[in-house]
């Protein structure tokens, strides 16, 4: 019942709010939700606090953009190429770090992301610190570009990606993969004793996560039409996707979506009410919220809803 209602609302949203700004907010929510859902696969279900997922976002954005700019490759093909590259990167990253536990792993992820960023910033071919402007093509779904003030086509595109990601996670949750992911999160040695190969399943989780994050990266590039290391290859990108998952509820299907709605909502509300300095204020509220949730409500918004539901019954 609830998913159906959510779907109806999501589909009707751009029809009800036909102005560019609310549509833009809708796009932001879906895009961030997609990233948070992707992060949740490793961070939430498998329990590996990967704080370098901006790498996959960046690879997605840069691969499709550079292929389009330099070789005229269609962004959809570029997106596919990006996901493949991202999954390869996930294997490399995973392979070097899967033996590491706890903090070692988290720090290794941060390190990996910083290295990739340093390489891009210092390589002129890749646009350097200046970034890459995406060439304009005719507006069409085939070209993955929609001009003008109507953001609805972008909105429906990203909503579709999000829906696919949610469906995949829904299926994974109920399969061997999902059980193994959670077992690894709960107790790696316990899982091994039951025949689970943690390295293998962490890699699978990582690759799935990389795939969806990369798709979001290509989408971002095609939507904003400009990318640079500061916007797609930066630690705040890695952090924001995990914060949404944390606030919403780790290891839950809908948690990351709720988290994205809450954080984008806060961020846009402070920007509108406080204007120029808004950027820091929204982050201050983010930070505070994360502390408060970590200390008092570690199960996130989903946990809160669960409690409310239990109280009603």
């Amino acid at each position: 019942m609830l998913p159906v209602a959510a779907a109806v609302i999501a589909l009707a949203y751009p029809k009800v709010f036909s102005l560019p700004y609310p549509q833009h907010v809708g796009v932001l929510i879906c895009m961030n939700a997609l990233m948070a859902v992707a992060w949740n696969i490793t961070g939430g279900y498998t329990g590996q606090v990967a704080l370098g997922n901006t790498v996959f976002f960046g690879i997605g954005a840069y691969t499709s953009s550079l292929l389009l700019r330099d070789f005229g490759v269609n962004p959809w093909i570029g997106m596919l190429a990006g996901t493949i590259l991202s999954m390869i990167a996930a294997v490399v990253l995973g392979y070097t770090t899967f033996r590491l536990r706890g903090y070692y792993f988290t720090i290794a992820c941060i390190a990996m992301a910083e290295i990739v960023s340093a390489i891009v910033v210092n390589t002129r071919r890749l646009g350097g610190a200046v970034g890459v402007t995406i060439p304009i093509r005719d507006a069409s779904l085939l070209n993955f570009q929609f001009h003008g003030t109507n953001k609805a086509p972008y909105y429906y595109t990203i909503l579709t990606f999000l829906a696919v990601a949610l469906f995949v996670v829904y299926r994974v949750e109920r399969s061997k993969l999902g059980y193994y992911f959670r077992a690894i999160r709960e107790d790696e040695d316990g899982a091994r004793a039951l025949g689970v190969n943690p390295a293998r399943y962490k890699l699978i989780a990582f690759m799935l996560s990389a795939l969806f994050t990369s798709v979001a990266g290509t989408f971002y590039a095609q939507y904003v039409m400009f990318i640079d290391p500061a916007s797609v290859l930066a630690q705040p990108v890695s952090v924001s996707m995990c914060l949404m998952a944390v606030l919403g509820g780790l290891g839950t299907l809908w948690g990351p979506v709720l988290g994205a709605m809450a954080l984008i909502g806060i961020s846009e509300a402070t920007r509108v009410t406080l204007g120029g300095t808004g950027q820091a204020v929204d982050l201050m509220i983010y930070g505070l919220l994360v502390i408060v949730f970590a200390v008092f409500q570690p199960t996130g918004l989903m946990g809160m809803l669960g409690k409310l539901k239990a109280r009603k019954e």
């Binding site: 903090y103 720090i107 290295i115 820091a280 201050m284 970590a294 570690p298």
Partner: protein, 289 residues
């Protein structure tokens, strides 16, 4: 000629390494005793630097004079953060601990940006600011020299505190096993508070010393915090001596790596070394397990 440039790089790296070492020792002490990595440690350093900056800008105090103030402010901050936040999540899953201090780092960084703008600020004409010592063809900046000396002194004091005093032994006992220590009559709560105070005081000192030759901006903690995490990982989590040694090594790698490959890559070189080290030795360079 090239030799002199390299020697210069090594000296600079060594001196910077002592500052990294001091920052990392603070982080390591908190991790070792209170069992938590403070991902906001870099932001603590940033606040230490701002304390020194404002003491200079508002009251004309030289950063070396205001050192006790930045040390005190940071120690107090450490105690507050422990009492208000991390004390409540001592037994929570590591995930929760990571997020709590990560949230804190975001909060402090944006608070600084909100209060003091994102601009970078530099203390002009501090006492030691323009002095330097010539050693053959190599120059040693006085601020760096003072900072290194301060770091070594602080490390000596902490080392003495931990190894030679009753309080230090109680602290280490708490680090080994909180419950056993409590049974032995050690006030573990006090030990945790002390670790947070001393660990944070380290970055108060480091911050004050850094402002004599480094500009401060809200995002400065990102690089220093990440570097400190890398340093304590290399040194073996929780080991104070390991952190100090690894800090110096990282300082050297950074400057020499930057010299060989290009200054833009100096941070990346350190991180690459970290990845290579943990790939070979998952327990870090100097860690026992």
């Amino acid at each position: 000629m090239t030799f002199e440039i390299l020697a210069q790089a090594v000296i600079n790296g060594l001196l910077m390494g002592f500052v990294f070492a001091l920052v990392a020792v603070g982080l390591s002490l908190i991790l070792g005793v209170a069992q938590i990595i403070n991902f906001a440690h870099g932001e603590f350093l940033m606040l230490g630097m701002y304390t020194a900056f404002w003491m200079w800008a508002l009251f004309g105090l030289d950063p070396l004079v205001s050192l006790p103030i930045s040390i005190g402010v940071l120690a107090l901050l450490g105690v507050c953060v422990y009492k208000l936040i991390t004390k409540r999540i001592l037994d929570a899953p590591r995930l929760t601990q990571i997020f709590a201090t990560f949230g804190l780092s975001i909060f402090l960084r944006s608070l600084a940006q909100f209060l003091w703008t994102p601009n970078s600020r530099m203390i002009q004409n501090s006492w030691v600011g323009d002095l330097r010592v010539a050693l053959g063809g190599v120059y040693i900046g006085a601020p760096q020299l003072v900072a290194a000396a301060g770091a070594i002194l602080a490390f000596g004091v902490i080392h003495w505190l931990v190894e030679k005093t009753e309080v230090g032994r109680a602290m280490m006992a708490t680090a080994e096993d909180r419950d056993a220590a409590a049974l032995m009559g050690i006030n573990t709560e006090q030990m945790y508070t002390l670790a947070w105070a001393v660990g944070s005081a380290c970055v108060g000192l480091a911050g004050g010393l850094l402002t004599t030759f480094y500009s401060v901006e809200p995002n400065i903690g990102l690089v220093f915090g990440t570097t400190a995490s890398v340093v304590i990982a290399l040194g073996g989590f929780g080991s104070i001596k390991g952190a100090f040694a690894a800090g110096i090594i990282v300082g050297l790698i950074q400057v020499v790596g930057g010299f060989l490959i290009g200054p833009a890559f100096k941070f990346a070189v350190v991180l690459t070394v970290y990845l290579v080290v943990v790939a070979v030795r998952p327990q870090g360079l100097l860690g026992k397990y």
